[in-house]
């Protein structure tokens, strides 16, 4: 019986093939792929792929029997997906195609990770026609190899992974909407778009204080408010209309709605702290509640143990009925599903993916795929046809300049960059239009920076810096530069460096240690008017702060003496009449210290300007000199690191070899003179031998001469000195005599050294000569010629 059934199944397999051939023109693609697979798979696949075991054959028989009864009982309903053909052309029962596989990677331990991996890793192979069940269901292992799958194969893989991770998961065969079946997300809003940080949940509102005063009733014209209201209503209506219009832009309804076959995964509650049943769409990796409108109907549900058919009217919900429980389901025929670390990292087929959303395009790249570390690029468009770009947002990973996000707004031309902590200047945020220094620009710094600078906002004529936690309680410094006069280019360049400052406003927080009337709240330096104005903090229960305004006395010039300080240079308003007015000396000292502060502040402003330039330069430099930090925990990182190391090793070895060769070859310069170095004639060899020896000899002689020369020179010098000393000995001071003596000892030492070296050289030279001769005679290139 066994053989019969087996041959039967083979026949069926062949039948499948023939059928397929008949449908050749309808799906040539699928066919060629599967044929190719047949060839390959036949040799490579394990036996279980190619043959059915007795148990499996029995199961197939039961399934066929059931199918016959089912179609007899429910002639209106479509046939069920029970025993599709696998990649080897053998019929397999769907439950056995599920292969529960535990995973080792923590990333895909939970269902979210599994689903997004399956969705990312496999590209969709749409069903053709979309209303029919597929004839084929490939094993998960080959699906992983090809990285392309139908929704049934995706669901099978996902379900296998989930079962392996102890979820109560099922494959669901049914009907879904077009967008889901074809994974068409062009009508959805991009999920990344609403990741904009929502304001933190407002902190618990302080309890309503019954003693807070009610805001005064404002006197308003009722007529005006009505007008306003009307206007607002009109605007709202406009908006509404626009929205309607946009909605009508949606494509017409799908004619195949309710007929499109789809397969997805059902996860039941109860295991792994799943609270409620939900669906996972294997194509997008998203989860849906089990009553989601996108899923239109269910035909059947199965896991690795059982198969259930929906006996309800298929438009209703999702109650299942147990159908088969005849015997233990045989083991899965699919071999172990192997997901490598590399698969996890490369993620998408071709290591990148493009998804179109409504008015947006999302591109994703595997880590280290692009040279600049780009991992995600989101492009937003103004219109539905995606022609006019509004904004591009790019996310980066592992860049050495710590850039993590860059957003280019195409409308107002602003570029916004965000950085991780720990980069030069502690820059965290940078918003600018262009790289020249004179544009609008905003920078934020991390608190690691010592100077407590938080933010610096620049526009062409102004600069505002915000501080936090400073000891002098300064929190804001606003600088106004003199409006730039249009000048010729050269002037402009020189001008850019030092813009004249017109006004500096500094604001301070209240310093609790000082009385309010001595605690400056605002300090204004009007550099043009030569004035400094102080406003003090408000005292309790007062409305008017104390003020003081100074006029700086003129400095001394060539012609005039410095202006003396006079009382009328200060005007004070002290709000508390009981306080004694300050003494002239105190005022004078105050002015002096203010003038000093002014200088310092101006310097700080200049430094800030300089720093902006430096940061901009630094950013430019970084963009040019960009590379990625390699994480050794990723496979691509490892390979890259290894190749780098190998490259370095190779270079190193090459260099060493080169150095070695260079050291060894005494003949190289002589050989160079000859054209053909490969073959040496006997004459040439002898000639070279002779030349080499004579050359060496000459060098030895030269060396000896050099030493001799040195020796003679030193001796002569010494003699000359001695002579002059003898001549002038009588007139010499003690110091000179001492100098002379040290000079002599030094010279004598040198002479002795030279003498010794000469002697050594003379002794060594013949040996060296002989040694060279020997070496040449042993040289593989010369030896054969010299012997004869």
């Amino acid at each position: 019986m066994e053989t019969v059934v087996e041959s039967d199944s083979e026949e069926q397999g062949r039948g499948g093939e023939t059928e397929e051939e008949e449908e050749d023109d309808r799906e040539p693609m699928k066919k060629s792929v599967s044929q190719e697979l047949h060839l390959k798979v036949d040799e490579l696949c394990p036996e279980s792929y190619r043959v059915n075991s007795p148990d499996q054959i029995r199961l197939l028989a039961i399934a066929d029997n059931f199918q016959r009864q089912y179609s007899l009982l429910y002639p209106d309903r479509k046939p069920l997906l029970l025993c599709p053909v696998n990649e080897c052309g053998v019929r397999k029962f769907v439950s056995m195609t599920l292969r529960p596989t535990p995973t080792v990677f923590p990333e895909i331990f939970a269902w979210e990770g599994c689903a997004s991996f399956v969705a990312d890793f496999l590209s969709l192979d749409p069903l053709e026609p979309p209303v029919d069940l597929p004839r084929y269901l490939f094993s998960s292992s080959s699906v992983l190899q090809n990285q392309s799958a139908t929704c049934f194969e995706s669901a099978t893989l996902l379900c296998s992974l989930l079962l392996g991770n102890h979820y109560d998961a099922y494959c669901v065969s049914g009907y879904a909407v077009r967008e889901m079946c074809l994974m068409d997300r062009s009508l959805q809003e991009c999920p990344l778009l609403d990741t904009q940080v929502k304001g933190k949940i407002s902190e618990e509102e302080p309890q309503e204080n019954k003693y807070t005063v009610k805001p005064l009733r404002e006197m308003k014209s009722r007529f005006l408010t009505q007008l306003e209201q009307k206007k607002q209503e009109a605007e709202a209506e406009m908006l509404h209309k626009q929205k309607l219009q946009e909605e009508t832009e949606q494509p017409p309804a799908d004619p195949l709605r309710g007929l499109r076959v789809h397969c997805w995964v059902l996860v039941l509650s109860g295991s792994r702290s799943v609270r409620e049943n939900f669906f996972i769409d294997p194509l997008s990796g998203n989860s849906y509640p089990s009553e989601d409108v996108n899923f239109l109907g269910i035909e059947s549900v199965w896991n690795n143990l059982n198969y259930y058919v929906n006996m309800q009217d298929c438009r209703d919900g999702c109650a299942d009925e147990q159908q088969l429980r005849v015997f233990e389901m045989p083991r899965s025929w699919v071999s172990y599903i192997n997901i490598s670390k590399k698969d996890l990292e490369s993620r998408w087929p071709g290591r990148q993916e493009v998804t179109h959303y409504r008015k947006a395009k999302l591109e994703k790249f595997a880590v280290y795929l692009s040279q600049d570390g780009l991992v995600t690029r989101l492009t937003r468009y103004k219109d539905l046809d995606c022609t006019e770009v509004v904004m591009v947002r790019e996310l980066y990973h592992q860049r050495n300049d710590h850039l993590v996000e860059r957003e280019i707004n195409e409308v107002d031309k602003f570029t916004t960059e965000r950085f991780r902590r720990g980069r030069p200047f502690h820059l965290l945020f940078h918003r600018y239009t262009s790289n020249s220094t004179d544009t609008e620009r905003e920078m934020e710094f991390s608190s690691d920076r010592g100077e407590d600078l938080l933010r610096r906002v620049e526009s062409s004529d102004e600069m505002t810096e915000s501080f936090e936690g400073r000891r002098d309680f300064l929190y804001c410094r606003h600088v106004v530069f003199q409006p730039q006069i249009k000048l010729s280019r050269e002037d402009l360049e020189s001008h850019l460096k030092v813009r004249e400052i017109e006004k500096i406003v500094e604001r301070f927080r209240r310093d609790g240690a000082k009385p309010a009337s001595e605690d400056v709240a605002e300090r204004v330096f009007l550099l043009n008017e030569r004035r400094i104005e102080l406003t003090y903090h408000l005292e309790d229960h007062r409305f008017i702060p104390s003020k003081r305004s100074f006029i700086k006395p003129l400095e001394a010039t060539d012609k005039e003496k410095a202006e003396a300080f006079r009382l009328n240079m200060v005007s004070s308003f002290q709000v508390d009449p009981s306080e004694k007015p300050l003494k002239t000396l105190t005022l004078y000292q105050m002015l002096m210290s203010l003038m000093k502060s002014e200088e310092e502040v101006v310097l700080q402003v200049r430094n800030s300007k300089k720093e902006v330039q430096e940061i901009v330069d630094c950013r430019e430099q970084e963009e040019e000199d960009l590379h990625l930090h390699l994480s050794p925990w990723t496979t691509s990182g490892v390979t890259q690191a290894r190749s780098q190391r190998e490259e370095m090793e190779r270079l190193d070895a090459e260099e060493r070899r080169w150095i070695q060769e260079k050291e060894k070859d005494v003949l190289a310069p002589l050989l160079l003179r000859l054209n053909d170095t490969e073959t040496l004639s006997a004459g040439d060899a002898k000639q070279i031998h002779q030349d080499c020896l004579s050359g060496f000899k000459q060098r030895l002689v030269e060396q000896a001469n050099l030493i001799q020369e040195r020796y003679e020179k030193e001796t002569q010098e010494l003699q000359r000195k001695q002579r002059s000393f003898q001549k002038n000995q009588l007139h010499m001071t003690k110091g000179q005599e001492k100098d002379y003596q040290t000079y002599c000892t030094e010279k004598i030492l040198r002479i002795n050294v030279a003498k010794k070296r000469l002697k050594m050289h003379k002794e060594a030279a013949p040996h060296k000569y002989k040694a060279l001769d020997q070496r040449l005679k042993r040289d593989p290139r010369l030896a054969p010629h010299l012997l004869y």
């Binding site: 003693y211 229960h541 007062r542 008017i544």
Partner: protein, 564 residues
């Protein structure tokens, strides 16, 4: 700047001296050399060094002080101004009187703002005449002949005290110098290390200099100091590092632990005392002081001899006991209510003050906004006006400015009145709420006190009954034998007993009534005072603000007049 150099030299000198001392040749060699170095240093510092042998000491007088002040005045343009204005002695912050052979500290009482005083290198023998210098933070008396520490009691702000190179042998009379951070007593005559422990009471001490004392010759002197002054950073200009401190704490751990224990006990006792005080204050604020327990009851039966005798009768004792318990319960009730109500009132008042504060701040912001706007425009106008030469036009402009100023005045006034009326509103609201609370409280308390009175009546009735029975027994000579004699005697006289009972009853009722009235009237007067205080303060502030505004107007107008 000069002072800093001098300080540096002084420290340098101290270090030099210490190193000489530690080298062991201090006594024999140094006297002469020290003198030399001092003369040299004095030359460096620019002071003529007085050799003691030659010149005699001088007395401090106004002349000397005047000269010292002149010397330290700024040498730049400021001097001219200072000269013109004249210096007030009570405004001088710093005075340097070193190397002057001064014999006695004197004539310093006018320098009340003085913060720094250098009197080092003189011939002073007693610390005196410093009592008025309450703002002093820095006092240098080194290189004098002082033997006793005294006269520093009023210098509570003192942070640095230098008494090096004197003849001091005891540390004393410094209890009030709580802010002391730098204390230098090098080269004195401190004999024992235990003397130094006196300094433990200064929690802020940062640096101590002790070298050159007999006690600092002891072997483990550094460790000793490090152990007993764990917060000290520097000893003899040397950093006390962690290792030293650790070693020290290990070495002296037993003594230290004992001391710590003692200190802990003291602290606990202090805390308990404080807590008690706070509690008493709380009870007082809640108007229910001494109402917990049987205080009221006891006060009712104070100084009543007849009653005392009566109470020794067993039946009456029982009655008394139940009466005391019931009274105690009622008083406790009053007490609890009082505390709870106090909490409620407190919360209400706090709530009011936060609300009031918020309102004021809000209006301050508004006012500042108006002012800033005005000033911006005003400045522009004045700049414009400076450019105008035409008199007529200027006049027009000035008038315009005047108008604007009036406008500002009007705006701020409006704001002021809005605020005042709103503050009045919430004050009224507070008045109503607090009155309600106080009313509720007093009613409740009155109810309880009424119960007390009932109890008293009840008790009195019962006592009367049993007294009558006893009297009856007494008349029949049937009294219990165990009764004490004086009670027996008492019961022979019916009238005395009845009188005693009647007066006792009256007294008791009066005590209860008194307590009740006291509580109610205090609560009511507190309420009135609270509201009155708030209203007065508001009024005062209102007046102040209006005055401010007028003064500001005047200020602006005066400025404007300069243009004419």
């Amino acid at each position: 700047m000069f002072g800093v150099e001098r300080l540096f030299l002084q420290q340098f000198w101290n270090i030099l001296e210490r190193s000489l001392g530690s080298a062991g040749c201090y006594v024999t060699v140094c006297k002469q050399q020290r003198q030399e170095v001092r003369i040299y240093l004095a030359k460096l510092v620019g002071v003529k060094y007085p050799t003691r042998m030659m010149s005699r000491g001088i007395l401090m007088n106004e002349d000397l002080l005047q000269r010292a002040i002149l010397e330290q005045e700024p040498k730049d343009k400021g001097q001219g101004i200072a000269n013109e204005e004249g210096t007030q002695l009570d405004e001088i912050l710093k005075l340097c009187l070193e190397f002057r052979n001064i014999l006695r500290i004197d004539h310093l009482w006018e320098f009340t703002s003085l913060a720094r005083l250098n009197l080092n290198n003189n011939l002073i023998e007693n610390i005196e005449g410093l009592g008025h210098l309450i703002n002093l933070t820095w006092l240098d008396l080194s290189f004098n002949g002082i033997e006793l520490i005294e006269g520093l009691e009023s210098l509570q702000k003192l942070e640095l005290l230098n008494l090096s190179d004197n003849k001091i042998s005891v540390l004393e009379n410094m209890e009030t110098l709580e802010r002391l951070t730098h204390f230098s007593i090098a080269n004195n005559l401190l004999g024992e290390l235990d003397i130094v422990l006196y300094l433990r009471k200064f929690k802020n001490l940062f640096n101590i200099n002790l070298f050159g004392n007999p006690c600092s010759k002891e072997g483990d002197y550094t460790l000793f100091i490090a152990a007993f002054f764990p917060d000290l950073k520097f000893l003899d200009y040397t950093l006390l590092d962690e290792n030293t401190k650790k070693e020290a704490s290990i070495k002296h751990r037993y003594v230290l632990e004992e001391m710590k224990c003692e200190e802990l006990h003291k602290q606990k006792a202090e805390k308990a005392e404080q807590r008690k005080e706070a509690e008493a204050k709380l009870h007082n604020d809640a108007f229910v002081e001494f109402l917990n327990g049987s205080n009221l009851f006891k006060s009712m039966f104070n100084d009543d001899q007849e009653a005392d005798k009566l109470h020794r009768v067993p039946e009456i004792t029982d009655l008394l006991l139940t009466f005391e318990k019931q009274m105690g319960d009622l008083c406790e009730q009053v007490f609890e209510t009082g505390l709870a109500e106090h909490k409620r009132r407190d919360k209400e008042v706090n709530c009011f003050f936060t609300g009031q504060n918020e309102t004021v701040i809000e209006y301050q912001q508004k006012a500042l906004h108006i002012l800033a706007n005005f000033e911006q425009q005003h400045k522009e106008r004045t700049v414009d006006m400076r450019k105008i030469s035409d008199r007529e036009l200027l006049k027009v402009k000035i008038n315009q400015c005047n108008d604007e100023i009036n406008q500002l005045c009007k705006g701020l006034m409006t704001l002021e009145f809005q605020m005042v009326s709103q503050l009045e509103d919430i004050t009224k609201r507070l008045d109503i709420n607090i009155s309600e609370m106080v009313g509720y409280f007093t009613e409740m308390v009155q109810g309880i006190f009424a119960q007390c009175r009932d109890l008293e009546d009840d008790y009195n009735g019962k006592v009367r009954v049993s007294a009558l029975a006893l009297l009856d027994d007494a008349s029949k000579d049937n009294l219990d034998e165990f009764l004490p004699d004086d009670v027996r005697i008492l019961f022979t006289d019916k009238e005395t007993v009845m009188d005693a009972l009647a007066t006792g009853h009256d007294n008791h009722l009066m005590k209860i009534n008194d307590r009740e009235t006291q509580l109610v009237s205090r609560a009511n007067s507190w309420k009135v005072a609270l509201i009155k205080g708030i209203q007065d303060k508001d009024l005062k502030e209102n007046r102040m603000r209006i005055k401010d505004l007028h003064r500001y107007m005047d200020h602006l107008l005066v400025q404007l007049e300069e243009f004419q």
